[in-house]
């Protein structure tokens, strides 16, 4: 009897405590097809219009950091779409940089989560296709629709004969320079250097004039992916050169792959960077440009446009990375795209793909440019919408030079333990360019050994000439 009372005592207490622990008593259904309406306040349609079953789409996206205004744009686009399609409810969740991938990978493991997922392009997106987390977008978009996207940008997520991601916006990645400081140091403010030696000479002249040439930050690592993409491809003739190294057919210690480390070292020797580059995060380093304390910084297109508006077109110019290389890609420009993809576990793939088509509609593309300064990679995007010099220049370069972005074609380990980790050691003077190349090769070897299946998948990354030209 006594022990029975004990049992009840314990249980009563537990019930009490457990009751207190779920603040939303009925908020744990096993499946929630009709979850909350986003804060916009649009009520759930009680009688769906004739256009079919009520459908709820979930989007996990990112982009506010590199294209400020993206969040407002997305909210407005979603609202517009829901008005036009009363049977569709969309829940767009802005992710943080640190949770974008963890959350998606975990959701994919559970086969439950967003219908549309934002991914950084190339090898930051394709592993999810290889692992079966994505549905091919080419099943829902016709070839004609896909052809609106510039081939070099589509290639980043074209794999095994299928398109896996729809380019959401492009982030041309260039250098902003301060025309007034250039003039002050005796450089031509309207014609920034395009050749390597001129660039190094410019660093020397700026230093001589007491100006820090480039302001950037490397503590958080992002810079590594940028530097390899500015410099690493300059001795390549085509994307196949890089792919050969990823497949292990070529060694990263070959001069063609290793020269960029020495060039980066050369930049250090010419004191091109701010001395506290290793103390600052990327954005903090770039901010030195906005404070007009440095003459150049690496930056993305939407932000260069912001700088141009803020400091004036007579102060801010945009330049390509000067060329040292001898390959056809020496003058290539990096205009990578961030993509949206339909997930393999989505219950509404067609509806999701339709929403992606909606994002490529003229008025919506214009709205995104106006609100977030982000350009949709699509030939229906009108050049006359562009309202700053830098965007116009970049648009012109896009058709003039080969498009290539190194970072999107190498495995992520090459970055974390290579262009970032080894780059930081190089910048610190803790290793030589030769050591960097050797250790990078070791990382690549180890990665191939660790990921035989990924290597097999990578080998199927082929671009049929009839689709991509050349």
């Amino acid at each position: 009897m006594k022990s029975l009372r004990n049992v009840f005592g314990v249980m009563a207490l537990l019930v009490m405590v457990l009751g207190a622990c779920s603040p939303q008593p009925s908020a744990a259904p096993t499946a929630a097809p009709q979850a909350t309406v986003p804060s916009g306040g649009a009520a759930q349609p009680t009688t769906p219009a004739s256009s079919g079953e009520p459908t709820k789409l979930t989007i996990w996206y990112w982009g506010e950091q590199e294209a400020p205004g993206m969040k407002s744009f997305m909210e407005k686009a979603v609202q517009t779409y829901m008005q036009e399609n009363p049977n569709i409810t969309i829940d767009a969740v802005l992710q943080e940089s640190d949770s974008l991938y963890p959350a998606f990978r975990a959701a994919a493991a559970a086969k439950e989560g967003p219908d549309i997922q934002y991914l950084w392009g190339g090898t930051q997106a394709l592993p999810d296709a290889w692992n079966g987390n994505l549905a091919p977008i080419s099943d829902y978009w016709t070839q004609d629709e896909l052809n609106h996207i510039p081939a070099g940008q589509r290639a980043e997520t074209y794999w095994d004969g299928k398109q896996w991601g729809v380019p959401f916006y492009q982030i041309g990645t260039f250098w902003a320079y301060n025309k007034k400081m250039f003039a002050q140091a005796g450089l031509d403010p309207e014609n920034p250097p395009t050749k390597w030696d001129d660039w190094m000479a410019a660093c020397d002249k700026l230093r001589a004039a007491g100006i820090t040439p480039i302001g950037t930050g490397f503590k958080d690592g992002w810079l590594g992916g940028w530097m390899v993409s500015y410099l690493g491809q300059q001795d390549f003739n085509s994307i196949d050169d890089l792919m050969a190294a990823v497949k292990g057919e070529k060694s990263l210690t070959d001069p063609m792959y290793a020269e960029w480390w020495s060039r980066w070292k050369e930049m250090m020797d010419h004191k091109c960077f701010n001395d506290d580059i290793m103390s600052l995060d990327l954005y903090q380093g770039q901010d030195l440009f906005e404070q007009q304390k440095v003459a150049m910084t690496n930056h993305v297109e939407p932000y260069i446009a912001i700088l141009e508006r803020k400091l004036g077109a007579d102060t801010v110019g945009v330049m390509r990375t000067p060329a040292y290389g001898t390959g056809k890609l020496a003058t290539s420009v990096g205009i990578p795209v961030q993509v949206l993809a339909v997930t393999s576990f989505s219950q509404h793939k067609k509806e999701a793909a339709d929403f992606l088509k909606f994002l490529h509609r003229e008025d919506i593309m214009k709205m995104m440019y106006d609100m977030a300064g982000a350009i949709t990679p699509d030939d229906r995007f009108k050049a006359e919408w562009l309202n700053v010099n830098s965007d116009k220049m970049i648009m012109q370069w896009r058709s003039q030079y080969p498009l290539f972005w190194y970072q999107y074609y190498y495995p992520p380990v090459w970055e974390t333990e290579g262009s970032i980790a080894l780059g930081q050691l190089l910048v610190n003077g803790e290793i030589t360019p030769q050591e960097a190349a050797q250790r990078w090769q070791a990382v690549a070897d180890k990665n191939r050994q660790d990921n035989p299946t990924e290597l097999e998948a990578y080998k199927k990354w082929i671009f049929p000439p009839e689709m991509f030209g050349q």
């Binding site: 314990v10 640190d98 290889w130 503590k219 001395d275 290793m278 103390s279 380990v413 930081q424 660790d450």
Partner: protein, 298 residues
């Protein structure tokens, strides 16, 4: 009748014990047992395009042959050095406060404050303070120690130690307050006897206070060991992101990188299982050490 009750009682107690344990066991089942089994399974298989294949011990080999794995583990071991430092510093500070130096109440209040602050707050502030042009170096310069200035978090040689300094900064107060609490219950007679024997301050600390504090010191040391092994992720994420190079990678960061950015779940799982094994060995050694000490003390 009486016999029947006597026989029944142990069984009822037995049942009752499990009723008391039930909620805890349920939680442990869900939070620990299930994930560990799941991880074990993941570490032995490889999933490609939705299909799962048996892959044996390949993932363990991949983890163990990865130089970064060893770098990460050695960084955790470096951080273990913070534990004796923390214990020694906490003891000294606690003893000073316990001597009722002027202003001891204020000292006691302030010394615990870092412990209640959030790690990201602490991490963010220190990443500004420790910058090359940050105030710490500025202060060094104005104190005439300019040549000591360094890029504390930016150089491989100093970064892990700078990180350790911040962890110590945050964790010290907990030790002080714990030790103070125990000290105040030590009988005054012991100190008086020591003073009569002519023991100086350090001798008192060494021969009287520390033995009396043994259990609390052990408790604090264990907590801090666990902290250095399993709870430093947030510092790394906020302050260094593992850099420069891989000089501040720790095991948690290794697992995080493998699982998410690299998308190599099997290696992340294998590393997780390995660290669990490592932790179990540590716990086992600690238990044995404890038993030996107890035997020595009779």
């Amino acid at each position: 009748m009486a016999q029947a009750i006597a026989q029944k009682k142990p069984v009822r107690n037995w049942l009752l014990a499990y009723v008391y344990l039930a909620p805890a066991l349920l939680f442990i089942l869900v939070i620990f047992v299930y994930p560990v089994i799941d991880l074990l399974w993941r570490s032995l298989t490889r999933t490609t395009a939705g299909a799962t294949h048996w892959s044996g011990l390949a993932a363990y080999r991949d983890a163990l042959t990865d130089p970064v794995f060893w770098q990460a583990l050695s960084n955790n071991l470096r951080l273990f050095l913070a534990v004796p430092i923390l214990v020694a510093l906490s003891l000294i500070v606690a003893a000073i406060i316990f001597d009722r130096v002027k202003g001891w109440r204020l000292y006691r209040t302030i010394v615990f404050i870092p412990y209640v602050l959030a790690i990201p707050v602490v991490g963010i502030v220190f990443s500004y303070v420790l910058q090359l042009h940050g105030v710490f170096n500025v202060l060094l310069g104005s104190a005439g120690l300019g040549q000591l200035a360094a890029d504390w978090l930016g150089k491989s040689r100093t970064a892990i130690w700078a990180l350790m300094f911040v962890v110590i900064w945050k964790e010290l107060g907990f030790g002080v307050v714990l030790f103070l609490a125990r000290m105040s219950s030590i009988s005054e007679d012991l100190f008086d006897a020591a003073k009569l024997d002519g023991a100086n301050w350090f001798q008192q600390l060494w021969y009287v206070t520390i033995p009396q504090l043994a259990t609390v010191i052990e408790f604090y040391a264990i907590i801090e060991l666990i902290t250095m092994l399993s709870w430093v992720f947030a510092y790394v994420l906020v302050m260094t992101k593992g850099g420069p190079g891989t000089s501040t990678w720790v095991m948690e960061y290794f697992i995080y990188q493998k699982a998410f950015p690299y998308n190599q779940m099997q290696i992340a799982s294998a590393a997780a299982i390995l660290i669990l094994a490592f932790a179990s060995v540590l716990m086992f050694l600690q238990a044995r050490l404890r038993r030996q000490v107890e035997e020595l003390n009779g």
